[in-house]
């Protein structure tokens, strides 16, 4: 079956109006755009052969979970990776919500449901017709599950909310598509952690799309920790719309996947909206690790900051494509972007394209990009203090990478620990 046929089949079977519309729109868009090609600027350096040209099978629901031939115990995995983080939790196993492994949010003024219970009114605030390319259309047309979280005015999510996505061993190539919707009401606050982990040695195609609407003066902290299996293609998207005075801080650890691509579409629509995106993309062996950003300053007095770091080993290929767009009449803008990369091998490749597109004059925008190796001077200093070469390099790399999370809250220490663990395990 082709993608178009699968999408068409799916779009007909949906019941709710909003879903029907969304899928119909996705079908039309897919028919006009098709899968990404090399001629599309943000896909220029992507290894497109890793995006399946036809739909794969859906994973089967199993009673016993296996990963790399061993029995998986999701509870233990959770305890291990989150190290006792006191949190709300939704666990997805192979694309299905597992209630017994979840702890749904219960705070006052917080509505939570799975996407199946979403009504037409709930979806009004989302600009659901925003497929940028064929992969988005596939997600919009085929997503099986996801969550809907709504924070009322002044509501506060008292614990971090973890969306834990786990994929287990499958005998044949599989795909799964998830879409989450979050509305943060006026002056509300929440911490969202998206966690993806894979234990599948077979081919896998995963798309995950997070729709976020941050209403005036809301404050959202977002993490994405991506540790998909090395045989998977992971396409993540954060699509955020920030209204006046809303603040979004987002952190990314892009670790796993044969091709792992995280896209950000951020619209600073309201006066005084403020967004910061930070992240680390790591690649080894033949991994392709990509970060794509399209950040739009649509209103005056908005502020944005981007700081992404790449560490590439072996034959890994890193791509950074970050665009800052300042619309006409959006004055008093501050926008900063930085992309620093370290190549640890002569076979590793980095393509970086920081872009500024500015149509207003009262702005302060800057971007910087560097590609290089570890600083010789710093290495020399450490070695002159009696530290071995390997260890000195290790220390410098840790310092380089861990800077990304330097400003996060003490309560979220398990995330820092996770990064540290990943670095120690891979470097």
């Amino acid at each position: 079956m082709s993608w178009a046929a699968q999408i068409e089949q799916h779009s007909r079977s949906s019941k709710a109006n909003w879903l029907k519309n969304l899928r119909q729109h996705a079908l039309n868009e897919f028919n006009s755009k098709g899968l990404p090609t090399r001629h599309m600027e943000p896909w220029k350096h992507t290894k497109l052969s890793l995006i399946p040209s036809n739909p794969l099978q859906w994973p089967q629901q199993k009673t016993e979970l296996l990963g790399f031939g061993l029995k998986l115990e999701p509870k233990k995995i959770l305890d291990h990776v989150l190290k006792g983080l006191d949190c709300y939790l939704v666990t997805f196993v192979d694309g299905h919500i597992n209630e017994s492994l979840s702890n749904f949010p219960k705070d006052q003024g917080v509505q939570f449901s799975s996407i199946g219970h979403l009504s037409d009114e709930d979806v009004v605030s989302f600009k659901t017709k925003s497929s940028q390319h064929g992969v988005h259309s596939i997600n919009a047309a085929l997503f099986q599950t996801g969550i809907f979280l709504k924070l009322d005015k002044n509501a506060v999510l008292t614990k971090p909310f973890v969306l834990f996505h786990l994929s287990s061993e499958n005998k044949s190539p599989t795909m799964k598509h998830l879409r989450h919707f979050i509305v943060a009401g006026e002056k509300s606050q929440a911490t969202i952690i998206e966690f993806h982990m894979g234990f599948n040695s077979n081919d896998e195609f995963e798309t995950s799309y997070l729709n976020l609407v941050a209403q005036p003066d809301s404050n959202i902290l977002h993490f994405k920790i991506q540790e998909a299996s090395m045989s998977s293609t992971h396409m993540g998207t954060l699509d955020a719309k920030l209204e006046a005075g809303a603040v979004l801080r987002s952190y990314l650890l892009n670790w796993g996947g044969r091709l792992a691509r995280q896209e950000y579409y951020v619209a600073l629509d309201g006066k005084g909206a403020d967004c910061s995106l930070k992240g680390l993309f790591f690649g080894k062996n033949e991994q392709n690790s990509e970060v794509i950003i399209d950040l739009q300053h649509n209103s005056s007095n908005t502020k944005s900051e981007q700081n992404f770091k790449g560490v590439l080993e072996d034959k890994a290929h890193g791509v950074f494509y970050g665009k800052i767009l300042v619309q006409k009449d959006a004055q008093k803008i501050n926008a900063d972007q930085s992309n620093k990369n370290i190549l640890l091998s002569d076979d590793a490749i980095v393509n970086t394209r920081p872009q500024l597109e500015i149509y207003a004059d009262d702005v302060k925008c800057s971007h910087g990009a560097t590609i290089g190796r570890l600083d010789e001077g710093a290495l020399f200093y450490l070695r002159s203090r009696g530290i071995g070469k390997k260890e000195a390099e290790h220390m410098l790399l840790l310092g380089f990478a861990e800077e990304i999370l330097i400003d996060i809250d003490q309560k979220l220490i398990p995330i820092k620990d996770r990064l540290h663990h990943l670095l120690e395990a891979t470097l």
């Binding site: 009449d329 990369n341 190549l343 980095v350 394209r353 920081p354 872009q355 800057s366 910087g368």
Partner: protein, 482 residues
């Protein structure tokens, strides 16, 4: 945005002063492009067989290509059949042997432009090759340069006097298949400059070409080829102007530079084609391909450009760093005012070991101008220990202009270091306030800041051009307010 004082307004709205037309006795061919036109141009120049064949190959290739549309500039579709591909001031059959033989009208025109050919000869010690519409009309200092073995003449002359050199180097840096406008240029180019610096010679004076579009409805397609042999040095200047007309005119030039071992080429441009009027009507479409190759060990190519003219500029002077330890440089000031659009930048392709490149780009947008920096830094696997530093800054003046930065950075080995930084801002109110508090008028303050903004580039220009460039910037911008 704050108000614009009237004195400043006068300055920014000052009209293009090189917009006059000179009544020259012109020889033009019919509009349109076909294989016959290519043959006609070639036969008019009495060209050898190899060049005609090359032109025809380019023309046939051009037919298979489509106009590129990836750049940030927008313009109505060009009708390539509505252009005159050859126009030349009528001169005596054999062309001028000395300055006295040049059509007095042509000389007057260059006097008017401030490029007095005779004065140049006597005073400034700059050898000038003047190109009007399609052909070279005068080259000064030829004999003096010949003593050193330097060849500096029009391209068509070089085809006859040094066919082996042309054959050896033409199209080696920019092949006719390179892009749409190159293929077009290769098919119909009518003249240009040729310069050859033999082994070990340091060219004692600046070489300069002055391009002028005079005839209406014509396109100008010139080709410049500079070859610097081992251990030689040359500094080359290029300037351009055109009359004011309502209709857009096309300028599609190709410049090729070849630097062998230890050679150095410094190429400076002050581009002041007619930019169109305040409503964006008319002006030159400047679609130029400039590329140099550092073929030899320790060779160096440096591009400096000041772009103030043209309705549309589409130009990326590039360096291929093939030789080990070779150096590439790009210094640019690009100004867009009114409805001008510029999409300009550079490409640094590192192939050799220990190669280094520096890119300094300053973009100034005013009025409704759109200014884009687009650059590629590519470090290939073989280019170990290479280094690049890029800085591109944009200054915005007025709230209807745009400044865009699109760098492409590709690194394929771990021993190299690439740094890129860019900033976009308007002139800070605090900067102006500081200057004013020190007793400077607002205009002087802005002029000081703009000049300071461009200083890194201006100081790379040869003296003669630095003065012109500063004046140019003054005319179109100095004193504007952010």
């Amino acid at each position: 945005m704050s108000k614009t004082p009237s004195a400043i307004k006068d300055l920014t709205e000052k009209e293009y002063q090189y917009g006059f037309v000179t009544a020259l006795d012109q020889e033009v061919i019919k509009k349109g492009l076909s294989e016959d036109v290519v043959r006609l141009i070639s036969s008019k120049k009495n060209e050898p067989e190899f060049l005609l064949n090359w032109r025809l190959k380019a023309y046939r290739h051009w037919l298979t290509m489509t106009e590129p549309n990836w750049s940030q500039v927008k313009y109505p579709k060009i009708d390539y059949q509505d252009i005159i591909y050859y126009a030349a001031p009528k001169t005596k059959k054999d062309g001028p042997k000395s300055l006295d033989e040049i059509d007095p009208e042509v000389r007057k025109m260059f006097d008017k432009l401030g490029i007095s050919l005779e004065e140049q000869k006597r005073l400034s010690g700059v050898a000038v090759d003047a190109v009007v519409d399609s052909v070279s009309v005068a080259t000064t200092f030829k004999s003096k340069l010949a003593e050193l073995g330097i060849v500096f003449c029009s391209f068509s002359e070089a085809v006859h006097s040094h066919p082996d050199l042309i054959k050896k180097y033409l199209g080696t840096v920019v092949p006719y298949t390179d892009n749409y406008f190159v293929a077009l240029n290769s098919a119909v180019f009518s003249d240009g400059s040729f310069c050859f610096i033999p082994k070990g010679v340091r060219c004692p004076m600046e070489l300069s070409t002055y391009f002028r579009i005079n005839a209406a409805d014509t396109g100008q397609f010139e080709r410049t080829l500079i070859v610097a042999e081992e251990g030689s040095y040359v500094s080359y200047l290029e300037g351009c102007t055109a009359p004011r007309r309502d209709k857009n005119q096309l300028h599609a030039a190709v410049v090729e530079l070849v630097a062998l071992d230890n050679a150095e080429i410094k190429y400076s441009t002050v581009q002041n084609w007619y930019p169109g009027d305040k409503e964006g009507k008319g002006g030159i479409y400047n679609f130029v391909t400039k590329r140099g190759i550092c073929r030899g060990h320790k060779s160096k190519i440096s591009w400096t450009q000041v772009e103030t003219g043209s309705a549309i500029t589409w130009k990326y002077p590039s360096v291929i760093l093939k030789g080990d330890n070779s150096v590439g440089e790009f210094y640019s000031v690009a100004l867009t005012n009114n409805y001008q659009q510029a999409d300009t930048g550079t490409k640094m392709i590192h192939l050799g070991k220990n190669t280094s490149s520096t890119i300094i780009s300053k973009g100034i947008s005013a009025g409704r101008g759109q200014n884009t920096y687009r650059g590629l830094v590519q470090i290939q696997k073989t280019a170990t220990n290479s280094r690049n530093y890029t800085q591109c800054d944009s200054l915005l003046i007025g709230d209807r202009c745009g400044a865009h930065t699109f760098p492409y950075i590709e690194v394929k080995n771990s021993g190299s270091q690439v740094e890129h930084e860019a900033s976009t801002s308007k002139i800070g109110e605090d900067q102006i306030f500081y200057c004013k508090s020190r007793g400077l008028s607002e205009e002087d303050a802005v002029s000081l800041i703009v000049n300071g903004f461009c200083k890194d580039v201006f100081k790379k220009l040869p003296m003669e051009f630095a003065v012109e460039a500063q004046k140019l910037l003054g005319v179109s911008l100095e004193g504007s307010i952010g």
